[in-house]
Structures are given as structure tokens and as C-alpha cells.
Symmetry: C2
Subunit: 284 residues, 2 copies
């Protein structure tokens, strides 16, 4: 089961999820001068994967950054995922797809079985259970993270509305826990997990306490303002969550005198520092 | 402004939106026997576009069906869009993307400006205004349709929850109207439209009455059970909405004795019949 693999990865290598939101703008000039932009993205990703693979639980690849580069960009997405898989890593595809019926089945096929197949994907719940059902045939070998409470300021527009006496995101969290109850691994967590942002520590604490079987993907660390203290409430006995950071890992070479050459080193150092920061708040 | 172009297209050619949810399974054997599957998808789309372009307001291309075919499938998506544009058609990309900050900007770049650029895309509102803002720089030349009330049975899971005294979808509709108020064309509709399904005629009537400036994309006609009577409440003076159908247009050749040869003819006939069905309920 993928969720047991992820649990073990957190146990052994800590809860950092390295976000490969690799835009061309972020790449070191040294790569851009010798490779076409899309090839440079792939080369950068490979080097960052090699440098951080033993310092993180998994990688999250944000497909939007690759879609923006067109068909060639999506080939780089596919090849990044394939490279991480070759190296034995767990890969989360941050695709936020959510659709119904045959369309949902096509997304499931694309991202859990087809050319772009990753281990887990992020899913948008607005269309309800019909948008979750297409992924079920791929569980528990694969998994999903359903958006519960995102890390952006306007998450409150709808997610915090009081619906039948509870904030909407808690209704969604309850549904996620319910949908996932037949997909719980030996680790005690379900292959249907949830996204809960680091920018709402009190929401994190609430959903952690109420839904002990939901594994969390936590965005919002680093560039979005969250720190170890903010993400600590996502954990139960030091596990049950991975914390994503992208720019604050893969962008740390910028502004460094030797960043143009040692970008992978800086990414590794940032991932290790991030793990230490989180561990401290988990009392490890 | 794109919304004025769409309004004029509905005026001149009726409100049918031909859904190019072209899966390989749906293709006639005649095409599959002479072309590789992905090439056959593109060829089928071209023929259907030619056959229906004067019988519809626009085309909607469901990207999931192309993603499932990998990088080559996405090239067929791009080429389908390009072909429709060459012929002067308006193209809606049914991508349901919704994300924030730099990620949202990447989606906007990908689908409104980059290689995959269409005229309007569908957007998921769960993350709030932050997921809408990245598209604003592309308005009013381009437009978006925000999911309000979808056509699937479990849309009620969250969209019908009572939030502060109103169903969630009405809260979303109100936000859509508000976000769009600075983007209203001479036709009286905004470049920020909404998706409201044909399977909830009473919801359609409610949002139509309350939000006169929101142009609707209405899914759920045909294969999903909606008919002319169900979609009629989406309109105001015979305009302000396009009604999508996919399988009940592009799949009508199946089971016909000459369907293998005359699939484009059947698609055209189905689009014309659909327009007549809707026109009847609009009193035209």
C-alpha cells in the first residue's frame, strides 16, 4: 500500500516533501546557458532529486509549471516522475484534478496509470464523491490527497463558511475520512489523505484531532510563511503528515555567490534544515 | 471581448456547445484502421468541427480525454484547438484548473496564452478568489467559467450545503457575479461566467434570476439526462448561456448502419436537432 510506504519514508527520512515547482525563471544561469529551457528544467530536477532523495519522504511535482511549457513541458513532467521512480522515490503529482464520470476516469487513467502515472495525486472535492470515485480502482497501490483547507489567504472565501453549523472544510474533512475508511493501511492511515495548509495551525490541530486516520499533505511551509511550529499540529506521534516546500528548497541557490554551480547542494542543505526545524517542534 | 463574441455566436448560430470529449473508444473503426489512435482522435475532431461549426456557438474540449493519452494526446488537444481557431470558432478548454499564486499564474499562462491557449476555460472555485486572480490579466480578451452547480448527482455533497443560510453554490454564484462586475461586455454579460448543470433546473432558474450578468456554460444535456426543457431556465431573452453536449453529438454514429462512414454527418444532425429542441423551449 502506498500509504504504508509513505509512512515508512517519514519514519526513516523525515516528513519533508520536496516541491518540484520548477519554473524556468528559477533555474541557475549555468544550466540555461548550456541547455534549452525545458531540458534545463529536467536536468535541474534530476540533480535536485539526487541531492535530496535521502533527506525527504517524497517529491511533489506541480504540473502547472510544466503545462505552462506546453507539450515539451509535459514531457519533462513525465520524465521527472520517471527519474524519481527509477531512484525509488515516492512521487505526488500536484494536479488538483477533480471531475466526474468518464472524464474523472480519464484523469485517473492519466495520472495514476498512464504515461504521467505518479503514486499519489491531489484532488479537488468541489464536485463531491463523484469526483473521488474514479480514483478508487487505483487504491490502495496508489493514493490521493483531497483538498481540505488550503494555505492561501482567500481559502476562507468558501472553505471557512459555516455550513450546517461547521466550517465547510470540516465537512470536507469528515467526507474524506469517511471515503477513506476502507483504505486504511497497517500504519493506521488511509490511502485517501487530505491537504491542510500550514497557514492555519488551529485548523490543522482540529482536523488532526478529529480525523486520526487521514494522512496530511501540508503546503505553506517556507515561502508561504509557515514554520516548524505551524506544521507540528499536523502530526500524530511524529508521523501522519508530509510538509511540502518548494521555493524555500529548490530556490535557495539564488543570491548565493556559488549558487550558480552548487544549486543542488543548497537544495539539500535547505531540506535538511527544514527537517531539523520540524523535528525540533515534534520533540525529536 | 470574448463574451461579446460568444453572445453574438449564440444569437447567430444558437446555443449549442459541441463537446469534444473524444475518447479512442468512441471513434469509428474506419478511422482507427487507417490511423494511429491519437492521430485518429485529431482527424475525427477536425471532421466534426467542419461538420458542426455553423450549427453551434462554440466547442468545448475536455482535456482529461487527451491527458489520458499522454504527451501525444496533449499534442492532439493543442492541434484540435488550433484547428478550431483556424476555422474561426470559439473554444472553451474544459480544464477545471484552480490554483493559487505562481501556480495559478502558470495555469493561466498555459491555457490562456501558451501553447494550449483557448478562448475560455473552466475553473474550480474551492480555493477562493486567489484561484481566480491569476486569470484576470487575460480578461476580457479571454474568459473563464467558474464551477457553480455541477450536473452530477453528488454535486449536492458540498454545493448544496446550507452556508450562512444559503446553499454553497449560491454563495459561489454571488462571488462569481461580484468578481465579474468589472468585466461586463456590451452584451451585458461578464467575461467571468459560471457552470450550472442542466440536471438542476430549479437551481438554474434561481441563479439566472439573481445574477443576470453571469453567462452560463450548461453541462448535463443529452447523455446526462437533461433536455431542452431543463436548460431553458438558463437563458434570458434567448441568450446568456451555451449548452454543452458531447456523447449525444459526437457519439451518435455508433449503432448506425452507415455510422462508420458518416459519423460527421450524424454529429451535425445531432447538433441541429439539439438546437431545435432548445429553441422550442425558448419559444423561438
Amino acid at each position: 500500500m502506498i500509504i504504508d510506504r509513505l509512512f515508512d519514508a517519514v519514519l526513516e527520512q523525515g516528513p519533508v516533501c520536496v516541491g518540484l515547482d520548477t519554473s524556468v525563471q528559477l533555474l541557475p544561469a549555468s544550466l540555461l546557458s548550456k541547455l534549452p529551457p525545458v531540458r534545463a528544467v529536467l536536468e535541474f530536477n534530476r540533480e535536485v532529486i539526487d541531492a535530496t532523495i535521502d533527506a525527504c519522504a517524497c517529491f511533489k511535482v506541480q504540473i502547472a509549471h510544466y503545462e505552462a511549457l506546453g507539450v515539451d513541458g509535459l514531457a519533462a513532467y513525465r520524465d521527472t516522475v520517471a527519474y524519481a521512480h527509477e531512484k525509488g522515490a515516492i512521487v505526488v503529482g500536484d494536479v488538483k484534478r477533480g471531475d466526474i464520470a468518464s472524464t474523472g476516469e480519464m484523469y485517473a487513467c492519466a495520472h495514476l496509470a498512464g504515461e504521467f502515472a505518479v503514486d499519489m495525486i491531489t484532488v479537488n472535492p468541489y464536485m463531491g464523491y463523484d469526483a473521488i470515485r474514479p480514483y478508487l480502482p487505483y487504491l490502495d497501490e496508489k493514493g490521493i490527497f483531497v483538498l481540505i483547507r488550503t494555505s492561501n489567504p482567500s481559502a476562507h472565501d468558501f472553505q471557512e463558511l459555516t455550513c450546517d453549523g461547521q466550517p465547510l472544510f470540516l465537512k470536507v474533512a469528515r467526507a474524506v475520512a469517511e471515503w477513506g475508511k476502507d483504505h486504511i493501511g497497517r500504519c493506521g492511515y488511509s490511502a485517501i489523505g487530505g491537504v491542510v495548509g500550514a497557514t492555519g495551525p488551529e485548523q490543522l490541530a482540529t482536523v488532526r484531532a478529529e480525523f486520526p486516520s487521514v494522512f496530511f499533505l501540508v503546503p505553506g511551509y517556507g515561502a508561504q510563511g509557515g514554520g516548524g511550529k505551524d506544521v507540528a499540529p499536523a502530526f500524530r506521534d511524529g508521523n501522519g503528515a508530509v510538509v511540502n516546500a518548494s521555493r524555500s528548497i529548490i530556490g535557495t541557490h539564488r543570491g548565493k555567490p556559488d549558487g550558480n554551480r552548487r544549486y543542488a547542494h543548497y537544495a539539500r542543505a535547505a531540506a535538511i534544515d527544514m527537517r531539523k526545524d520540524i523535528d525540533r517542534w515534534l520533540g525529536k
